[in-house]
Symmetry: C2
Subunit: 177 residues, 2 copies
């Protein structure tokens, strides 16, 4: 069933986001000594390979998103992973709508920055050519596309919008699957 496939996609998205946030993204926010050298090397390799200066020298506006990731989103990841692994948990609908709208919104300025900003080449090189810009866009794009898919699923799926949600029981409520 198509909905179950989507739920599994969402499970993997949220489950994988936990180590990604903890081990990679939060390096932009926390002092370097918190992380073992191999992880710091991994981040440096990524930033150089994909020409992403934002993770090494984040502008304050970008850093505010990492802060949101740590404080608002991290607690949600295991809850959402559980809900979509289990499937059919209509109580996840409103939190998922809030999460997906929030995250999709954060990707808009990030992608605009990647596509249009005149990046310096030092101390941390940013993308200079169209090819480099679109490669970096492709790294961030899943964090726009999966949340949008999640939002559409929560808004349009009959299972997540049945009258029996919110725990109310009604003799006339239709249950569609």
């Amino acid at each position: 069933m198509a909905l179950r496939v989507l739920e599994i996609i969402f499970f993997f998205y949220f489950a994988s986001h936990i180590p990604i946030t903890l081990l990679i993204d939060l390096q932009a926010l926390l002092p370097g000594h918190v992380y073992p050298q191999p992880l710091r090397d991994l981040l440096s390799w990524y930033a150089e390979e994909f020409k992403d200066p934002m993770v090494l020298d984040p502008p304050h506006w970008f850093k505010s998103f990492v802060f949101c990731e740590a404080v608002l989103q991290m607690p949600f990841f295991p809850i959402a992973a559980y809900a979509f692994l289990k499937g059919g948990c209509t109580w996840i609908r409103t939190p998922a709508i809030l999460y997906s709208t929030h995250v999709a919104t954060t990707l808009i300025p990030i992608l605009a920055h990647i596509l249009f900003h005149q990046f310096p080449t030092k101390p941390h090189p940013g993308p200079q050519t169209d090819r480099e810009r679109w490669l970096l866009v492709s790294i961030y794009a899943p964090y726009l596309l999966v949340p949008l898919l999640l939002l559409l699923t929560m808004l349009l799926s009959s299972k997540y919008n049945s009258a029996s949600k919110a725990g109310s029981t009604s003799g006339k409520a239709k249950k569609k699957n």
Copy 2:
């Protein structure tokens, strides 16, 4: 009734946002010749008085938000203004949740930028002192606070969360006011 007071606040917020977006905010996106000189002078006066360089020389990440305002939010303003003037329009709940989450999210990087960025003094001066930074924060803060108030109202108000929303009628549904 407290809910009606909130609805009137939301009406004025959305109704006032229409001219603010069209006449002020969109100047950051559209060519200067689109606007008559008095409006351009108004924007210049504001930018100098409140030391807001973002409206005169917007970074691409900021410009992406103005684009969202024009394309995603503008069509919503008159609809939301009507709904909250009329009152009790439960169909506005989900769109209002999407709007308020989106806009509150956009304010996070903007406020971080105002509070922490090292602004140049030329060609367009940015805030340098704490006092100047907090003054500029106070200009933008309503666009965080009212959306958050709207979000909480949509999530917590019994009227906007009654089982009779979404047009389903149930003999056992409770209607709370």
